[in-house]
Symmetry: C2
Subunit: 246 residues, 2 copies
């Protein structure tokens, strides 16, 4: 047997490495992006919020584990999930409160917790799974998320760049966040929320017109104080053709 590398001489230290998944479920409330968070009740009985997640099981890979968490959370069997990053800093499991909670949930002695983050974009008015163990799940505006356990705040930060890459390579994804009928202003505010910058109204109109898969409807808003705006819809078929010809 060849001489073992130093990191392995101490490979006992790997004994209690756990691998988990954490899910970022994004919704859009017409103004800003929201994240679906779940409650964690600590030993001290005080609750805080965290990303929904789970240790992966023996029989599943991380994709399946993330799908399981989301089905449990939303009741939806097939949700478009994007794996975006593995977070593995040795420091991510340093807060004694987190270690305590983890060991009470998953058994004693967790030396290291490595997590794989997944992202999903969905409509914010979607009904959540009443019967799930996540009865405490709730939408939180991005700018109003407090300190979360582990490195969940860092994961959220990094996910924003990931959404931008995702909508760049797969623009259709943007429309998962909108109702079937939406106004130009709603679409513009969504772009502003995702890209974190303002769009000039006129320039954005040109941009939208260029998206020939955003189709004008024969219908306007009703019962609004301001001048009723026209509705648009996203046309999957036109989009697919557009992408194939591109």
């Amino acid at each position: 047997m060849p001489e073992l590398p130093a990191e392995i001489m101490s490979h006992k230290d790997y004994l209690h490495t756990y691998v988990s998944v954490d899910c970022l479920v994004y919704g859009f409330d017409g103004r800003s992006l929201n994240l679906l968070l779940v409650e964690r009740r600590g030993m001290d009985g005080v609750a805080d919020l965290k990303l929904p997640g789970s240790i992966i099981q023996n029989s599943e890979d991380t994709d399946q584990a993330a799908g399981r968490v989301l089905t449990e959370l939303t009741g939806i069997k097939k949700m478009k999930l994007r794996q975006f990053r593995c977070f593995s800093s040795p420091e991510r499991l340093s807060d004694p409160k987190d270690i305590k909670w983890l060991e009470s949930e998953y058994g004693p002695r967790v030396d290291r917790l490595i997590t794989v983050a997944y992202m999903a974009l969905t409509r914010i008015d979607r009904r959540l799974n009443e019967v799930s163990k996540y009865k405490s799940a709730r939408w939180c505006p991005l700018d109003n998320i407090g300190r979360m356990p582990f490195d969940h705040n860092r994961i959220v930060e990094q996910s924003l760049g990931e959404i931008r890459d995702w909508v760049t390579t797969e623009p259709a994804i943007m429309f998962e966040l909108l109702p079937p009928k939406f106004t130009e202003a709603e679409l513009r505010r969504l772009y502003e929320a995702v890209h974190g910058r303002k769009y000039d109204v006129r320039n954005f109109h040109k941009k939208m017109v260029a998206m020939d898969y955003v189709v004008k409807l024969d219908e306007k808003q009703r019962g609004v104080a301001h001048r009723a705006a026209r509705y648009y819809k996203f046309d999957k078929v036109l989009y697919k053709n557009r992408m194939h010809s591109a």
Copy 2:
């Protein structure tokens, strides 16, 4: 202590979960993409090729582990690395030969091996690290890679889609694969290799002209049988300005 979920009742099974990194280092030989692979000598003395990789150490995260492997392999301290996916199927560690090799390298009883794949694009004429433990490292054309250990063939397959996403969101990356001076034909063949399709010569010329950061040089090929082609270079500064104004 709350009742433990089923998957944890058997959490002894997690005792020997290892987390590793595997690196896809891509080069371009003027015709096709090549991968930098390293030799693995099995118990039986027979060698095969695999992706360069390592178990992660206690003190490092997966980014640092991948950087360590690449520095060891190429001698380059700062190489642009992109984490692209965690591969965690329970079946990836099923071949007895792989298990034997792993345990001889990293110690006994590895139940599960989860790996995080990284990608780097580099010039194929780059000198490799002579003093490294990877003396056996060699470039292999993508279409000429045999059966590799674990799920390395699957990782390679999936990395192709990832390169396409990468060059879409960060076009500059493409030029990491080319010499400082290159011809239009070389750039076109690189695009064809990356996107896996032919480009019409005239259309590609239009495409290249649109990249104002690809700058024509006052220099042509020398000592070539065919008509000497003009050289171009990639201009980082023009590129940065272009991206900022975009």
